[in-house]
């Protein structure tokens, strides 16, 4: 499969664009690293809960709640990087066929697909924003008073951040396919 994604040689891209992309990629990577550390934290937490319960009769309060909130955070912190690295599932049989015969059409298709994805993630972002505001204003929490409670807003915020990061990567991807579409060779993708 032709790699439309990061790290492939794309000499046809102007330097200014490559510069912007490097900055965006660093930000995406930072989110990715935070998400990765969160997985580690979940592992430590569940272990602490089990060991505390079995050995010391003192389970850690709120582990199911923290874990169920963390997984949402983990996913949205990493989804932009997953896209950048080409990990989102797609069937490439038709695309490869087109690539061989009409590389520009392939770029055009890629551009249209990415625009559709941008519209969708924008919708998701716009509709998720009120959910964050609600959680923030009302101070909603997970858990139960007297045992353990944790605010919900950080997760809702991370959903927004994740969508924004994914949007940035999608826009960069759309521009890349546009350059490929208009570049003289057209086949270099």
């Amino acid at each position: 499969m032709t790699d439309f994604h990061a790290d492939s040689g794309q000499a046809f891209l102007p330097p200014w664009f490559q510069g912007i992309r490097r900055i965006a990629d660093v930000m995406t990577l930072v989110l990715n690293v935070i998400g990765t550390l969160l997985i580690l934290a979940v592992m430590v937490l569940v272990n602490a809960d089990v060991i505390g319960r079995v050995a010391f009769n003192t389970p850690v309060s709120g582990v199911p709640e923290i874990v169920s909130m963390s997984i949402v955070a983990i996913v949205f912190l990493q989804v932009a990087q997953a896209f950048r690295k080409g990990r989102l599932t797609r069937t490439d049989a038709v695309l490869d066929y087109i690539q061989k015969r009409a590389p520009r059409l392939r770029s055009l298709l890629e551009f249209i697909f990415t625009l559709a994805a941008i519209a969708l993630i924008w919708q998701l972002f716009a509709a998720s924003e009120p959910l964050f505001v609600k959680a923030w204003v009302r101070g909603t929490y997970e858990g139960t008073v007297g045992d353990f409670t944790a605010p919900i807003w950080p997760v809702k915020l991370i959903i927004l951040i994740g969508c924004a990061a994914l949007l940035v990567q999608l826009v960069l991807h759309a521009i890349t396919s546009l350059f490929a579409l208009t570049s003289k060779k057209g086949t270099s993708l």
Partner: protein
């Protein structure tokens, strides 16, 4: 004129409270509208097809569904005051009474009403009462000291009921109780009879102790407020009337089943014991006053927690309940 209404419930219709929405509430609305100019075309979305358990409120508030079977138990932050029963155990074991009075409080109590409105909902009624919670264990419980160091699984707020008993409360859920007791992760659970029998929990936890934790209010039927306000008055009346019919039918069904379920457990080799007043009092007195902690937290958030607590306790005492511990008077 045809009005379309999507009804959402996170639990599947095998749960009694969902079954009655489908088999009592909806037919009652249809019956009330028969012969009028209005009719409702229903789309019934149960079992997580549109919203998971605990997400019904948001789906109704946002307008994806017009009517929701909202579980306050699973939305303790948004419907904080509605959870008053879970923070006041040992008040009444009669779920019919608890449900009836909780429905009245939803209509009359300012804080209860406000909390539905803040979430963009109109409370229709149809309180879901939960039958008296039981302690089911794989060891006999003759005194509270028997619980020392034992791991007891309990639903979220009920973990608080174990504090002060020496037992280790572990927050768990119905779906895995059987295996967790069987393998020994838990030594017992706090659960209600109408869930214990279908899950065959008596096989692994044959010692059923009726502590008298009490019946609980788990939620009710609510409508999206914008949608409700735009309805013709007679349709509004039909919805609220049907919610009352639903509450009565559901609790009649529940009461008939609970007695039967305790018998089934005994027939299957479980021992059902009822603790005496002294046991119950010792348990209740040994607990932290979790109701007070809860009420003060709500007070601090600007919700009348202490007021609701008193209002609920007064209501129940007036209705003839004799709480083992008067949580509001300490």
């Amino acid at each position: 004129e045809e009005i379309s209404a999507t009804v959402v419930a996170g639990h599947p219709p095998v749960f009694r409270w969902v079954k009655h929405v489908s088999q009592t509430f909806i037919p009652a609305v249809n019956a009330a509208l028969e012969g009028s100019d209005y009719s409702i075309s229903w789309s019934e979305q149960y079992g997580g097809s549109l919203a998971k358990v605990g997400d019904e409120l948001e789906a109704t508030e946002e307008g994806l569904a017009e009517i929701g079977l909202v579980s306050s138990l699973f939305d303790p932050a948004k419907l904080a005051v509605q959870n008053v029963t879970y923070f006041t155990p040992f008040v009444s074991s009669d779920s019919t009474v608890v449900a009836e009075w909780m429905d009245k409080l939803q209509a009359n109590d300012a804080d209860m009403k406000a909390s539905w409105e803040e979430n963009g909902l109109e409370y229709l009624g149809g309180a879901t009462g939960i039958d008296d919670y039981l302690l089911m264990t794989n060891f006999p419980v003759e005194s509270i000291s028997d619980l020392d160091g034992k791991k007891i699984g309990a639903p979220g707020p009920a973990v608080n009921w174990l504090k002060g008993t020496g037992a280790v409360g572990v927050s768990g859920n119905l779906t895995t109780y059987y295996n967790e007791i069987k393998t020994g992760v838990y030594d017992g659970v706090i659960v209600f009879a109408s869930a214990a029998v279908p899950g065959k929990l008596y096989e692994v936890a044959p010692h059923v102790t009726r502590i008298g934790f009490g019946a609980q209010y788990a939620g009710g039927i609510a409508a999206n407020k914008d949608w409700y306000d735009a309805l013709p008055p007679m349709v509004q009346k039909a919805l609220k009337g049907a919610a009352i019919t639903n509450r009565i039918a559901y609790h009649k069904d529940l009461d008939a089943t609970v007695g039967k379920f305790l018998n089934i457990m005994e027939e299957n080799g479980a021992t059902v014991t009822q603790v005496d007043e002294a046991f119950r009092k010792e348990w209740a007195d040994g607990m932290d006053n979790v109701a007070k902690i809860w009420a003060e937290k709500l007070d601090a958030d600007g919700v009348g927690g202490s007021r609701v607590l008193k209002s609920y306790m007064d209501t129940m005492r007036d209705a003839g309940a004799t709480p083992v511990r008067n949580w509001d008077q300490e």
